[in-house]
Amino acid sequence: MFDIVSFIPRAVAQSIPLLFGSTGETITEKCGNLNLGIPGVMYVGAISGVIGSFFYEQSTENMHAFPAIAIPVLCCLAGSLLMGLLYSFLTVTLRANQNVTGLAITTFGVGFGNFFGGSLIKLTGSEVPSIALSRTNAYFARSLPFAAKTGWFGKIFFSYGFLAYLAIVIALIASYVLGHTRVGLQLRAVGESPATADAAGINITKYKYVTTCLGCMIAGLGGLYYVMDYASGVWSNDAFGDRGWLAIALVIFTIWRPNISILASMLFGGLYILYLYIPSGMNLSTKEIYKMFPYLVTIVVLVISSMRNKRENQPPASLGLNYFREDR
């Protein structure tokens, strides 16, 4: 039988890293930067948080709630901010090719995550190739107090750690700022036509730097959520997988709208784990086909939105292009 009450919480838990990643990437792309480094940034964010809480757990016996949460979050934000700064410096100041820079960041970030993950594993001297931060996980995964009492309703809506709600709040804020504020308008102007925006007195460099760094920090939180909450505080190398690319797919799927991304990421999360719930008998191969769905739907959306050619559904016009004032 299809068990919807257990399916939805798992789909949602699966969706949160994607939501963080896609919100971060959406605002980055809105300012015209196609940051293909997001998968790497999410690794860096995750491992930075892990390093922070690892040393905190090692240093004290009785942990307090505030530092147990604040240390990993701040480490994660700092790590992803540095990656964002690196990307912005290379593409905005040095005007390097965005695709190449992004891919280099991904190479670096995934390597960085796995290297330090591996080093920490060696430091603990454990037999299994993973680090378990179960005490930190207890703080991150603490759900709302009334979740258990309200039955299936609580399980579907209240059973998540605070980062999950934060993801939704950030997505809503991002969507509001992009669509309804002056800052958002100027940001979109930078992404659509930097030359026009520049002529209107908007500081292109500042906008691109701030948005890209913010985007990276949001995406980094997705990595943190994955380790601390979804994976119950267990870091193992390469476990994060291709979720970063799925987040980029989600950006297109939602046609650059973070508020749609909240539901769409849950759809993707559901598609990601659907194979667990569909009775395929002994045939394991079918589940690999199901895993293809998120990408196939994204392609269909991409093609259809380009076919219909509605102006509000297009990628930002200067996406992937660097701005140099003296270019003609």
């Binding site: 695709n99 820079t101 280099a104 191969s285």
Partner: protein, 361 residues
């Protein structure tokens, strides 16, 4: 309040094309600086003597004849993918789908080896493998190309997504064909009969791959530089409107070029499966579709330059894997070093293309 606004501390202007030796000089400085940073980072993170690390880096790449052959083979495959992507990049079509195109090429090749391996003579089998790999790779690139030509669909994102469809397709067939059942992998195909294995030519089993790719380098160089197709690609890349005005059918050029691009990626899959690994896994492309983007870009899409840029990157990944074994470090250390070197090379392009004027005091 000061009313007088100062001139900014510096401003940037675009340079005219520098002569080639100045360009390479700037890049060389970038690479040397990156070496210094890598040495410092190696020292800080691992506490090892950088000279020792550097010597084992070189040993890892060139230490034994066997290591040299592996290096040559790796360079050849990476170069093949970079060559495949070049025509598309010249046209400003960002084909980030190399990974998927290699995989489906390899998958088609493996399918032939498994399904008709014992039914047809070996020569014919290899021919069928080649044709089907190339066709599969081309088909994987054709879809984004058609959409780009018809509706101007964003090709970067489309080809990126096609990678994962390809990976899942391979994962599916891996389970369908797994040997033994339940192991989750195919294992060496036709181990006993060697049906469909590319014959060994010359001193090493890798030699044939290297020869094929060298020939390909020359062909692509000529194709891009001296053929009418190459010229059309360059014009479309510079300006689609100019191309249209000159009577070039832009859609046709896009589709034709991407067919070529995908076909060559399929060829890389064929060389990997038929020539080297004799098996297929989801990781057989090993990120080459992405690394090749950087290889092609570093060489500024010049096929001869790509020999050097792919050699540089492969040298580092091979050497770094030696370091990680020798000093029992994590394998990913190589990725960190590669990343740092790439950042520096990417950054050095700025000083080739732009000039900084400081304010005159």
């Amino acid at each position: 309040m000061k009313n007088k606004t100062k001139a900014p501390l510096f401003h940037i202007t675009k340079r005219k094309m520098l002569p080639w030796h100045r360009r390479w000089f700037i890049r060389l400085i970038g690479i040397l600086l990156s070496f210094v940073v890598c040495a410092i980072i190696t020292m800080v993170m691992t506490g090892l003597n950088p000279v020792e690390v550097a010597s084992s880096l070189v040993y890892g790449a060139f230490g034994t004849p066997r290591k040299c052959w592996i290096l040559g083979q790796e360079v050849a495959i990476l170069l093949c993918v970079a060559l495949a992507l070049t025509p598309a990049f010249r046209m400003r079509f960002w084909n980030l789908g190399g990974e998927g195109q290699i995989l489906v090429g390899g998958l088609a090749c493996a399918a032939c080896m498994i399904l008709i391996g014992d039914k047809v003579p070996n020569g014919l089998l290899i021919f069928i493998m080649l044709v089907s790999s190339v066709a599969a790779g081309a088909a994987w690139a054709l879809l984004p190309a058609i959409c780009k030509a018809k509706w101007n669909t964003n090709e970067t994102l489309f080809t990126l997504m096609m990678n994962y469809v390809g990976i899942q397709l391979v994962a599916y067939f891996t389970i369908v064909w797994e040997v033994p059942k339940g192991s989750g992998k195919i294992g060496i195909i036709n181990q006993n009969t060697n049906a469909g294995w590319l014959p060994q030519v010359g001193p090493s089993k890798y030699f044939l791959n290297i020869l094929i790719v060298l020939a390909l380098t020359v062909i692509i160089y000529i194709y891009m530089r001296y053929s009418k197709h190459g010229y059309e690609i360059a014009v479309v890349g510079e300006s689609e409107n100019t191309a249209r005005y000159a009577g070039i059918k832009v859609g046709k050029v896009i589709i034709r070029t991407l067919l070529l691009s995908g076909a060559l990626c399929g060829l890389a899959g064929f060389l990997l499966v038929g020539g080297t690994n004799h098996t297929i896994t989801t990781t057989i492309a090993g990120g080459r579709g992405f690394t090749a983007v950087m290889v092609a870009w570093l060489a500024k899409f010049n096929p001869i330059g790509m020999i050097f840029s792919s050699l540089l990157l492969v040298f580092f990944s091979q050497g770094a894997s030696e370091i990680s074994t020798a000093f029992s470090l994590n394998h990913s250390f190589g990725d960190i070093l590669t990343g740092i070197i790439l950042f520096f090379i990417i950054g050095s392009e700025f000083f080739i293309n732009y000039r900084i004027h400081f304010r005159k005091s």
